[in-house]
Symmetry: C2
Subunit: 310 residues, 2 copies
């Protein structure tokens, strides 16, 4: 069995920056309301960029940074999204075509905001079993197009972006544990469909997001027999600063152990975790041997955790 390693990371954010002032004016909100409620200071919205374009750019960023990647070794391209435009061919197929990746299977998954964890774990399972050598795992969402202009709760949080990771396998022993659980009861509290914008019951989402993800982290630590003290960072889906701080408090985490970048990016659903990991690599925050927990949660309701040794 192979062990999972992150080979390279990439990201793409739309060109158009949206500051709180613009949204506060548009939504008739007080100054500083958005920062106070969500922790967000700015986010990016697509104008002409399509979801396929954003996903492709995030993968191109990987190839720009790392010239040694052998495309022939990539056996899988998985794209996690909640806002697909084309159902066939998928976004993953668009990446396969444009980067001319010759020997791979490409598909998209729909698993809500936990989608990146689901896609990452599928890719890892294929690599562990040596069915493939390397996999591109992409998370992308254009939430600005699915946000009801009059819905303050979603308008102040949601944004657009793409993140990508190239995963590979190696022989040196490394920790990898994963657990994903879907709980259908109350799945009406966070929805998105072909004909409807994103609906979010903020109160109920808060209640869910500060309990189930915490349970999941405790569960994965128990399963792996690793102490929270031995975890360098928890890298959560960037839902809302309040939710993330509550998760951190309930776990009694030291400050800065839970990585947050929502202030500059907003909530990008499936893209939030790979964008965060990419940022952490760019800031030299992750070193070989570090143990981290990736934490996904959201619509479905799906909650997922991956304990990974860098």
């Amino acid at each position: 069995m192979k062990q999972i390693e992150i080979i390279e990371t990439g990201y793409y954010l739309p060109k158009k920056e949206i500051l709180n002032e613009y949204l506060q004016k548009k939504l008739n909100l007080e100054d500083d309301y958005i920062k106070k409620m969500t922790g967000i200071e700015k986010r990016y919205y697509t104008e002409t960029e399509t979801i396929e374009y954003m996903a492709l750019e995030s993968v191109k960023n990987i190839f720009e940074k790392n010239k040694k990647i052998n495309k022939e070794q990539i056996g899988l391209i998985i794209v996690a999204t909640t806002t697909p435009n084309k159902y066939m061919p998928g976004i993953a197929n668009y990446i396969q075509k444009n980067l001319n990746i010759p020997n791979c299977s490409a598909f998209d998954i729909l698993a809500g905001c936990n989608g990146y964890i689901t896609a990452f774990d599928i890719a890892s399972t294929y690599i562990q079993l040596e069915k493939i050598q390397k996999a591109l795992v992409v998370g992308v969402d254009i939430l600005s197009q699915y946000t009801d202009d009059k819905d303050v709760g979603t308008s102040i949080i949601l944004s657009d972006g793409a993140g990508a990771i190239l995963l590979g396998g190696q022989n040196q022993e490394k920790k990898y544990f994963s657990k994903i659980i879907s709980q259908g009861n109350k799945n009406e509290i966070l929805t998105c469909s072909k004909e409807e914008k994103i609906y979010m019951n903020g109160k109920e989402i808060y209640k869910y997001a500060v309990t189930e993800p915490v349970k999941m982290i405790k569960n994965i630590l128990e399963q792996s027999n690793i102490s929270l003290d031995d975890i360098k960072y928890i890298i959560p889906h960037q839902s809302n600063e309040r939710i993330m701080k509550a998760i951190s408090n309930r776990l009694k985490l030291p400050e800065d152990k839970l990585y947050m970048n929502i202030q500059n990016i907003g909530n990008t659903f499936c893209a939030s975790i790979p964008i965060a990991i990419n940022e952490m690599y760019e800031q030299n925050m992750l070193q070989k041997g570090d143990k981290v927990i990736l934490l996904g949660y959201g619509g479905g309701l799906n909650t997922g955790c991956i304990l990974l040794e860098i």
Copy 2:
């Protein structure tokens, strides 16, 4: 490593049967045109049934036939579709909720008409690696809603349906080989999107479908070192009788070795392979030790093969 076994199968077809006469009249076609061009005699269209309902019914059919299934052992529900309605929660989440399956991860995948092969192989990989014990793999599409009434090429072929298989693992050695390849060039010949109906360039699809799937079968036989003579059945995606007969001819298959049920069901995209497997079990055509090849092909372009020992 566990070996893959099919524990139970199920299906659902909409209540409303549509005969060729109805479509020929509506499309102003000659008598027998549809049978002659596609091999199809009838198909089923949804009226009030939703895609979630159809998928759920196909899984309920599994539980009706097999009362011994322990829901707690099901670790994964994957739904392959090309015509999603809700993006979050997904169809798999709907099944999880309604059947109260407690310890599983549920998600949907978009991989065109090859989606069922992709989903089946994901589930198999998790079972092989013993990350889970059992998986529900569902294929469902409502193509009647994505068919342009004026487009004869798609109107005479496409239909609605759902099929499901419960997969498990066992220790006795059994053959399992899989290969899925995405080829983006020419991926504009078969498309479906949020805002557009299904587009199919029939001529180009025919050219692709009678070459790449044949190559793929030869490839998997070589990879597994198994002779075509040792394969009891090839179970292809039910695209069109002409395509399937051409594949059969190119492989020099004896009559009846390539399973066809398109005449009574039409082309149901992601549902066609599980519906076919379900039918074959109901007709006692599959016995322990039989080797079969599941063959998927279609939009993406994605082509996939699974050589499976029953």
